[in-house]
């Protein structure tokens, strides 16, 4: 098991946010955590990333307890995470201070191309669109060759067309690099489109209500009856009738 979250509970003061979370993720798996806003899913990701020590319980990665942030596991924020004072290539190279200059150049070039930012190497984030900034942040994360990526509603601030393109991009990159990915969203469609498994969480205090395996190959057909059935079962699980 790559990531083991065992008996994790968390409170902010008197407010209980997470209750008794048990989740294991295997290497190379893409797990999406979905739930209503305020259910503690972002807190869970911050705990896994080592940014928030849990009130109780433990997270282990490769059997080692997580005690803080670590460059082997990179957290991708919404596009706000890129450094606005650095150019695209400087952003991607930010975490590469332990490798040789030649390796650094090679990786920057590789990831600029992988995320489709060729021609923008010298641009500053203010000159990029929201989707490009998001891809830049993913490239910066991948450049240090982490084994785990944590993505906290990474496409939440993007318009719906860009969001669809970004999901396709993420799947392409994930298939090329085979990272273990923990992805948090409140978008049920997004979870079913991306995940190997979807973790459905309850209202606060967040518990795991159900874990669904999405055994459909990529690219997924969004009109496939199985896709629709899986999606509707999550809507039902969260307690939303699928009508507007």
């Amino acid at each position: 098991m790559k990531v083991e979250i065992s008996a994790v509970s968390h409170s902010f003061g008197a407010m209980r946010v997470l209750e008794d979370i048990e989740l294991t993720v295997s290497a190379g798996e893409l797990v999406v955590i979905v739930g209503p806003s305020g259910c503690g899913k972002s807190t869970l990701l911050n705990i896994a990333g080592g940014f928030t020590p849990p009130s109780r319980g433990q997270v282990r990665i490769d059997g080692e307890p997580v005690v803080g942030p670590d460059p082997r596991r990179i957290f991708v924020f919404q596009e706000r995470g890129v450094f606005p004072w650095l150019t695209v290539e400087q952003n991607i190279g930010f975490g590469l201070f332990r490798v040789t200059e030649e390796e650094r150049r090679r990786r920057i070039a590789h990831y600029v191309q992988l995320v489709g930012l060729s021609g923008f190497e010298r641009s500053f984030p203010r000159e990029l669109s929201g989707g490009m900034k998001q891809r830049l942040e993913v490239a910066r994360a991948l450049a240090v060759n982490p084994d785990v990526l944590y993505l906290d509603e990474p496409f939440g601030a993007l318009d719906s067309i860009t969001r669809l393109q970004m999901r396709r991009e993420l799947l392409r990159i994930w298939q090329a690099e085979r990272k273990t990915i923990l992805f948090v969203t409140h978008d049920i469609d997004e979870s079913v489109q991306l995940a190997d498994r979807v973790v459905v969480m309850s209202q606060r205090p967040g518990r795991i209500r159900r874990i669904l395996t999405i055994d459909m190959p990529h690219p997924r057909d969004l009109s496939d009856p199985r896709y629709i059935a899986l999606r509707d079962s999550i809507f039902a699980e969260i307690g939303l009738a699928h009508h507007v």
Binding site: G49, F51, G68, P69, D70, P71, R73, I74, F75, F77, R80, G81, F83, P84, W85, L86, F94, G95, F97, R98, F124, P125, R126, V144
Partner: protein, 248 residues
């Protein structure tokens, strides 16, 4: 056309001044022409450049010394919670005291002369700059610090690669505002402590013969130099390493 509007405003203002003088024949204020002649007179006597340079010299020393001490102090306090809790109340009490209130102390400590004036400019620049640097650190994005920590930066690396670049845009703005304050104060300081500079010119012109044309010439020169200083500082804001911090 828009490029000429600022110039137009000045021309209208001078014209209104001239018309008012002609209409009222008031002896209480000299007209623009007399003031222009006074400036020419200053230039002929070699005082124009001498006084501007004298004032700029004092500002340069007082302001630079303040920046050199205030920026590191403010940054350290901004990053070091307990230090800030201890020092901030003192800063907040000293900050609203006008630098002019320090004049007696300045003369007591440094005597009548350049050192007193420089000390007053230093005080006027030091407090706002320290507070601005401290606040700039507080405004560093938490996500940027988290991202830096995630990539395994040590505390020193985090300061160099995340905190310093983050605070630069706000520091540059604060430097510009503070230079404006320093320039305000040098003129006041020169009225008391020294025998050169634009502030001295104004007081001296009145004391030695009520030369109000020279008084206003001094005021005009102070305004012009102030605008030039501000324009120079504004150039800094267009540099790439701070431009990202200002909304376009």
């Amino acid at each position: 056309m828009r490029r000429f509007s600022p110039l137009l405003g000045i021309v209208i203002c001078i014209a209104a001044w001239q018309i008012a003088i002609m209409a009222t024949r008031s002896p209480l204020i000299p007209g623009p022409w007399e003031v222009a002649l006074a400036i020419v007179e200053l230039a002929r006597r070699g005082l124009l450049l001498k006084y501007v340079v004298a004032s700029l010299f004092r500002v340069t020393w007082g302001y630079t010394a303040a920046l050199v001490l205030a920026i590191p102090l403010g940054l350290i306090l901004g990053m070091w919670r307990r230090g800030e809790d201890a020092v901030n109340p003192v800063l907040q009490v000293l900050r609203p005291i006008s630098p002019l209130a320090w004049i007696p102390i300045a003369i007591l400590w440094f005597g009548v002369g350049d050192a007193s004036a420089i000390f007053l400019i230093f005080l006027a620049s030091f407090f706002p700059m320290t507070v601005a640097a401290m606040n700039a650190v507080h405004n560093v994005e938490a996500t940027h610090l988290a991202a830096g920590a995630n990539f395994g930066l040590t505390r020193m690396q985090l300061v160099r690669s995340v905190v310093l670049p983050s605070v630069l845009p706000q520091l540059v703005i604060a430097m510009r505002v503070t230079l404006g304050i320093a320039w305000l104060v040098v003129v006041a300081a020169e009225m008391i402590a020294v025998s050169s500079g634009l502030g001295f010119l104004i007081i001296d012109a009145r004391n030695a013969g009520n030369r109000y044309d020279l008084v206003i010439a001094g005021m005009v020169l102070i305004g012009i130099v102030g605008v030039i200083l501000d324009l120079v500082m504004r150039r800094l804001e267009t540099l790439d390493f701070v431009r990202w911090g200002y909304a376009n």
